[in-house]
Assembly symmetry: C2
């Protein structure tokens, strides 16, 4: 304890705390708008487009609808734009409109364990907030569930209360289903460059081949990204928690609200992959009777169970809650857009990160062709396209676990000598029922050990595939060179031999024979090498260096 000392407070504690007051979550984000991605003219507009498109795609997928989304951006003046986003989603029931667009943390779905792009209950209300902050104008929402009634509403957010402030409300009759948002924003700028709305939409189209997306830019140019597939994607399903990675706090929270009467039945009913046999295994590892009522579980007991979870082996989490792109779709997108010389795709098995949260990693490499980023001066640099739950991440690459994983790979091992300056595009897609974003702006994934590890494994895998391709290519080139050298000698050797055997006329015949011998010899060498390679053990795995936090 610091002793009472000579300095006399200029202000007493009571005086200091007079200035304290409570604020709403909306007020917090108004002051800290950068947390939501509203920083800079370019990024702010992309953030708006990201939030509204994310919302539309999520709604369609949850309802099992093939998405059709139209985004239009109109310029109203200097740094002043209007945007319209229409979808064919399920529509929003009247009583939920205020919660979704006019209140933060109201329309939250993150208590459910399901893979969605949006998961925070902040994004689209943040759009309303940012429009109102920059123009004072309300968001207009027209929405219908397809029952013949369209709700047409204009609303603002009452910032101090974090509640919707309805400016106009009305209905009219029309038969369609979906939602149309319209808003006005100032202090932003449209650009076709990287980081702008067009690039955002383009990458969204790459990762969502089941969606039709139409984009109309401020010059009136219309780009239609047509569907590559007409299959409705399986709606993501809420999942039970997986025992691995669960923390004690979450476990206690679940135990408090379960309807199960015993800890044992709680484990079987509320978790995935826990059978009666697994319960018996767990009982062996804990020092209390699991017939106990879960509502009366103590922290120490919960801790024992969580520790037991770590020791017991469980099946990997079910994949129903996850909706990866799949190798075929990624390959199709890559071939279509990048026309590479070589491509490889790896989809890892689902696993869990902190808190029993299932996730899955997909990685692709494209080399040559249009892969990489081409700079103004014609130089080609490598490029990393990051996605989380199929939504492109365009900003904050520096602090992102996906970037970290890419940078931690020693690409030279995989025959990419100078990764930075190679014509390489890496696609990294992380799908999870809860992506651990570093901030509410959702452009960067926190450096979770398990996530980084999985991405690294996938990257090493595509790296090895590239290496095989590359060494094959190198071998082909070397073989060609060898052949040419030998053939060159044989053109000199053949007439010399003919002269020696005093049959100059046989020179062409001898040349042909030599040619045949050379080719046959090289073919045999190839076969031997292939057989050797076949008998080889798997290529060495790069060991993962843990604790890369610093």
């Amino acid at each position: 304890m610091a002793e009472a000392e000579e300095t006399i407070p200029v202000k007493s504690a009571d005086k200091l705390f007079e200035e304290f007051r409570e604020v709403s979550v909306t007020e917090f984000f108004r002051k800290n708008k950068a947390h939501l991605g509203y920083a800079g003219k370019l990024r702010s507009l992309t953030t708006i487009i990201h939030e509204v498109v994310t919302n539309s795609l999520d709604a369609c997928e949850e309802a099992g609808i093939l998405p059709e989304v139209t985004v239009e951006i109109k310029q109203m003046g200097e740094d002043h734009y209007r945007f319209i986003c229409q979808d064919n989603g399920p529509g929003i029931p009247r009583k939920h409109i205020e919660g979704v667009f006019g209140q933060m943390l109201a329309g939250t779905k993150f208590h459910r364990n399901v893979q969605l792009r949006g998961q925070q209950g902040i994004g689209v209300a943040g759009v309303t907030l940012y429009c109102q902050m920059t123009t004072g104008k309300p968001m207009r929402i027209r929405t219908s569930t397809g029952d013949g009634t369209v709700n047409d509403i204009k609303l603002l957010i009452d910032v101090s209360k974090n509640k919707a402030d309805i400016i106009e409300t009305g209905t009219y009759s029309e038969y369609w289903r979906g939602t149309e948002l319209e808003g006005e924003v100032k202090g932003v700028q449209f650009t076709l460059r990287e980081g702008g709305p067009y690039e955002y939409i383009r990458r969204t189209a790459v990762a969502n081949p089941h969606a039709k997306i139409v984009f109309i830019d401020p010059e009136g140019r219309k780009t239609i990204f047509n569907r590559a597939t007409n299959t409705v994607i399986k709606p993501p399903q809420p999942q039970k928690q997986h025992p691995k990675g669960m923390d004690v706090d979450q476990f206690i929270t679940l135990a408090k609200v379960t309807e199960a009467r015993r800890v044992s039945s709680f484990l079987m009913s509320d978790f995935s992959r826990i059978s009666a046999a697994k319960v018996a295994e767990i009982q062996e590892l804990v020092n209390f009777d699991m017939k106990k009522n879960p509502h009366r579980l103590q922290w120490a007991e919960a801790e024992e169970i969580v520790k037991a979870f770590e020791k017991v082996e469980f099946m990997a989490p079910p994949t129903e809650g996850l909706s990866p792109l799949g190798e075929e779709i990624i390959r199709k997108s890559i071939l279509n857009v990048l026309e590479p010389e070589f491509e490889a795709v790896v989809t890892r098995k689902p696993t869990v990160h902190s808190g029993g949260i299932p996730f899955q990693v997909e990685v692709a490499i494209a080399y040559g062709g249009k892969a990489g980023r081409i700079l103004g001066d014609g130089q080609t640099k490598s490029e990393v396209m990051r996605f989380a739950n199929r939504a492109p991440l365009l900003f904050d690459a520096g602090g992102c676990a996906l970037t970290e994983a890419v940078q931690s790979i020693d690409w030279k091992r995989y025959d990419i000598k100078d990764f930075e300056n190679s014509p390489v595009t890496l696609v990294v897609n992380l799908v999870s029922t809860h992506v651990p974003y570093t901030s509410a702006g959702k452009q960067s994934v926190a450096s979770d050990e398990e996530v980084v590890k999985e991405i690294r494994f996938a990257l090493m895998d595509v790296g090895r595939k590239f290496q095989l391709y590359h060494s094959h290519m190198r071998h082909e080139i070397e073989k060609e060179a060898k052949l040419n050298t030998l053939l060159k000698y044989s053109t000199e050797l053949a007439p010399a031999l003919a002269r020696l055997i005093e049959k100059d006329g046989d020179s062409p015949k001898l040349l042909k024979a030599l040619d045949h011998l050379i080719r046959e010899k090289l073919r045999m060498e190839d076969l031997e090498q292939e057989m050797e390679e076949g008998s080889e053990e798997e290529l060495p795995q790069e060991t993962f260096v843990e604790d890369k936090e610093a």
Copy 2:
């Protein structure tokens, strides 16, 4: 509007929205703990230390007390620690304890325009939350305002309600003033490496020479960072808003709550640097009578005023609200810690960023000596030490405006050929009444145009100072080389001359004469050059490339 189409929703809108529910801000951050900086074992522990130290230093400075802070970290088991933070601050009145430690956004001071390290009303309640999430144990708070009564309280946070949950409360008699926090956390790891608590405290000491900080690490090693100055630093003062950079939303918000009866008097009373003469200038630029009641101000009218603000020239904001380190203190710290061959410090004038928020930039360069980062293999790399309001920023360097500014400088222009691999330490300190952090974890500053610009100017300035030093050093080295060459020739020349004049014995005399001539000649060259430099115009300013958002 999307037409009604063939795909039938799998789930109706009503069904989908059944799953919606409202969550508290604490629940939001529990799920998104990475937003608060709780990501990874190492960073999580540093985040806790950052939050508690920040809180202590802010409290002391606001109360006008010379801070004395003791931080102790004890290891309790694997990845399990207890921390204690004591300060001699003003103490916390009983009725505010719940708000500060057990509720998010309750003890918020960010409605005030004042420079503090903490500004979000989330940090220290976040510590309570994280401890409870990982150990289930409450935070213990002992605090007294010096009135002879110590409050001794243990509390948790009721996450669903965002309210404190008091576990134990009591008082005892003892005469001291200050606060002692004690908590337990699991799933974290102590390290002496960069990014760890020790490095955090060390950098805090560098930037807070008026504070005495004692740190006791888990091995029991005690480090005392003594005060470099005994002057109580001027407590940061809340400030009126400056008109520059103000946005319309903020302006309207202020207009709604002002006690002024006319817009004109509102401008003079609620803003800094607006005189009657300035009001007259503004009146010329707007199309309505500023005798109007500010409570009835329309958006369009407010917008006219904000636009007028942009056109009118105002004095820079008053600096009372800002408390920079000052060149002397930075120089002292740098000389003390880095012992460089060369150092230069630049403190820019205060200016404003978005929303009329005053800020100020300080930059220092240290070259040679112990400057730079020395790697394991003995190689030296350049190092950037980032601070915001004297609090060190150890993480998320990638997405930070301070890093961006450093990287945008072409250091070759300033004779630092290979910046990455040079023995250079740059110190960048941003002080502001509101630092635009990118997330609640407060380790990275959003890329605000004005902020980046100011940092760049300061960096170019220290760059030019380095360049002068470097060219001077180079000149000295060249002069030395020239001298040595000439002297070498003169030792041959002297005897040769002596022989020619047939006075071999004069050789030493001739050598001496030559030596004198050479030195005199070089001295004259120097003088000429100095005179030339004196008449030179200022060195060319590097032009700032705007719109670097992408």
